[in-house]
Subunit: 485 residues, 2 copies
């Protein structure tokens, strides 16, 4: 049943409450649409939640929640006095607009030993995550139906069918403004990062700020690809864009949905600040949305890219949602960066793309709804694991502070108040057969902010099989108790 | 039934005549094995064909043919007076050794218009070439049977299962000495070339000689990847290695089995000369074996790599044998080049590899014999097409010289004696709805050897479907007749 509201002076906010979709989500989508289309311009004052609820025949709580969600995504701001307005750093007017759900990026292969209980971050239980039967159905469908031309040389950006399917999916699930023409298929986040560092590096963007701490493989890729990497500090509100000017950065790589490894969500004022920096300096923000599909306690925070599609490269992959071995990722590029990236990949880099069959199978997997069903099922499983891990930790070690629990596939266990060092605890864990990561290996610069936990474990909960999981948590708890303090 | 011959002084040449394999091929394999293992050292005189035939209970013709085959591959030489000996530039002693058959590399995507009859080279009839049913069987087998770890992050060189299968296949089919540890899976020849130019470029090998003429995409990739490209002249015996010293080349990229686009096979003395250059200068030869699987009139010429595995990078792909959209290729690397290539791909290049599922499906496809059956069938089809094309041309235009017909998926029609220019004929062909390539676009340097055909068409016969093919040939013949001379 369509409902509508006309703002002062003349904005029509059509809300299409489709069957099976929540009213709150419909309202959010309508607001985002209006902001993207500049029908609600920067600074526009919105009605009070009570007033809008009455206008649209919705409960007031629905409107309050929708406003809160869009504030957390940076679309709206709360004015002194409590009124709600469209943020000044709103998005560039864009073709289309969107809603939210989730999607994930990639942490490259942790090499090294195998553990009886593997709680290292960035790894998946592939018995659970890789949906072989459904994937087979998509492969079969493609081999039965795709035309011969589907398996020939093709567009250097990747199959158009997949780019169209991703455009719709990313808009719906992550609030990404993604013209299919501006999507480039790649082989995972690490490969996408390599493409970007080389292509943007050749256009003179040679100073890259990367969050400190971050996944160590990423600064290594960037440095080896020939750019300078400088450390972007992270605190309890996420990356600190105020540091970028001093760093002389041309590009900033961030993980807004769930900072890796601290688990912090980039706060709305930081989102605005980051985009303001990009607009003022012609800087580029690379959004590594590595585990954006996994948010447990409330609606996921939409992608930063939706707020600034002309300044943000959005990067995603199936490595955290299906299997790293799938080797499919995607970059959503601002129009002016499309040619440098595609041209470099087509020539100097030899046209590295995933196989046509895999691209078309993923298209089918998205379009027949398999990906949505798969993610719902995974999210339920990983939420259960997260709950058990957090409960076990707070019972066994109530003095430890566990952060980053609202989303993703890992938590950070801050050891600061325990008197324990991360190395001692990791060794005790290894003695129990448990593999964990330590925060210490994630620093790449000299950033030492006051707020950062000096000693912490990075604990993933997506790798063990269901029968292993509870034993893995018990072994970790034993290790925490037995570690010499 | 095993047969054996002991050479003077003490080489035992065991010949295993397996059921279903020819005696000649068995003898060739045994000779290659003995040469690789240095049991037959450089210069060793072989028995006369009559003597060896009597010793082994084979017909003399079998021995004569085996000797001729190994001469064409550069393993053996004919001495003045007619005796046969192991070549001086024999291979470095190697782990294992091998026989012959065929296999193919890649010419990147010809962009551009679509024709009613597409006779451009480098393209496949995918209704014929891509074996959907058998590929599906391999995918199903992998999804049913492969362990979860098969779909995780993995070895940066590619799946070990595929590297082992390729090692056996390449040894058997192309005479390649391929330790699975020294194979790196990539995404096709263009991608492999990019990897090599970047990795070897960083080790100081920055002057790359590429055959002139060659596929235009290849010098472009190399230049864009940051190396200097110099033109390696080609004549009726293939590339001319004597030019390399003057060119100051560090690397030479060649197409020994069937030079692209002239179709010449690199002659034995040139093979020896090329390897001598590499050994003397620590140069690297890159062997682009793009259509080595397709040889019609006699046994295929084995890969150059078998003669000098420490100095030759062998590169192959499925783009000419299954489908370009498969995006799987491989590099067989000398041991000292392995680390630079793998390390660069793992870091700066972001770990570009084909998906695990595709790699494992190809493994299954090779190991269950599907690839061999597929190639036999394709070879019969393409031989038939080649015969019809050549017959039609010689009937319609007996004054034109058509070369490169013994192998591959294209021929060169030399227009030199006809008074026609390639541009005029290509335009006449386009007017008949026929797409062809012209030799002129394949030059990248200033090489103008006396022997090169100044005006020629490059005509592929693998693209039309079977019902289209005869019509395509007729249309080409009409164009040749109607071109204003």
């Amino acid at each position: 049943m369509p409902r509508s509201w006309t703002s002062s002076p003349d904005v029509h906010l059509g809300i299409d409450v489709a069957p099976g979709r929540g009213k709150r989500r419909a309202l959010e989508q309508a607001l985002r649409d209006a902001i993207h289309a500049a029908r609600l311009g920067p600074g526009t004052l919105l009605p009070s939640s009570r007033g809008l609820a009455a206008d649209l025949g919705l409960s007031r709580g629905t409107v309050v929640e929708a406003y809160a969600q869009l504030q957390s995504e940076g679309y709206l701001v709360t004015r002194p006095g409590g009124s709600t307005a469209v943020a000044e750093a709103g998005p560039v007017p864009a073709e289309s607009a969107h809603s939210t759900q989730r999607r994930a990026t990639e942490a490259p292969a942790p090499p090294g030993p195998s553990y009886r209980f593997d709680l290292r971050p960035g790894l998946l239980d592939l018995s659970r995550a890789f949906p072989r039967r459904q994937w087979m159905a998509s492969v079969r469908s493609v081999l039965n139906q795709a035309p011969d031309a589907g398996f020939d040389y093709g567009d250097p950006r990747g199959r158009p069918e997949l780019r169209r399917a991703l455009s719709r999916y990313l808009a719906r699930a992550r609030g990404v403004v993604a013209d299919p023409e501006q999507i480039v298929i790649c082989l995972g986040f690490a490969h996408g990062l390599s493409l970007l560092t080389q292509a943007l590096g050749r256009t003179g963007r040679t100073t890259w700020a990367m969050e400190d701490p971050c996944l160590p493989a990423h600064p290594e890729i960037a440095r080896r690809a020939g750019v300078d990497v400088v450390p972007l500090p992270v605190d309890g509100s996420g990356a600190r864009p105020s540091a970028l000017a001093k760093l002389g950065a041309d590009v900033a790589v961030v993980t807004p949905a769930h900072q890796y490894p601290t688990g912090v969500t980039l706060q709305p004022e930081r989102r605005a600040e980051l985009l303001a920096w990009a607009r003022a300096t012609d800087g580029v923000v690379v959004e590594d949305d590595y585990d954006g599909e996994f948010r447990y306690d409330r609606q996921p925070v939409g992608a930063l890219q939706g707020l600034g599609p002309d300044h943000v490269v959005y990067a995603g992959t199936t490595s955290k949602t299906i299997a790293p071995g799938l080797r499919i990722g995607w970059l959503v590029l601002p129009a002016r960066l499309l040619d440098p990236v595609v041209d470099l990949n087509r020539t100097a880099l030899g046209g590295a793309l995933p196989p046509a069959l895999e691209q078309l199978a993923l298209t089918d997997f998205i379009e027949r709804g398999s990906l949505d069903r798969h993610l719902r099922s995974l999210r339920a499983e990983f939420r259960r694991r997260r709950d058990r891990l957090v409960a076990a930790l707070s019972k066994a070690a109530p003095d430890l502070h566990t952060t980053g629990v609202a989303a993703g596939l890992h938590v950070l266990i801050d050891l600061a108040d325990s008197g324990l060092t991360e190395r001692v605890v990791a060794d005790a864990a290894a003695a129990e057969g448990v593999g964990v990561a330590v925060l210490g290996t994630h620093w790449h610069g000299r950033t030492r902010t006051r707020r950062r936990p000096s000693q912490a474990l990075v604990v993933g909960y997506a790798r063990p099989t269901p029968p292993q999981f509870d034993n893995a948590v018990r072994a970790l708890v034993r290790a925490l108790r037995s570690a010499p303090g």
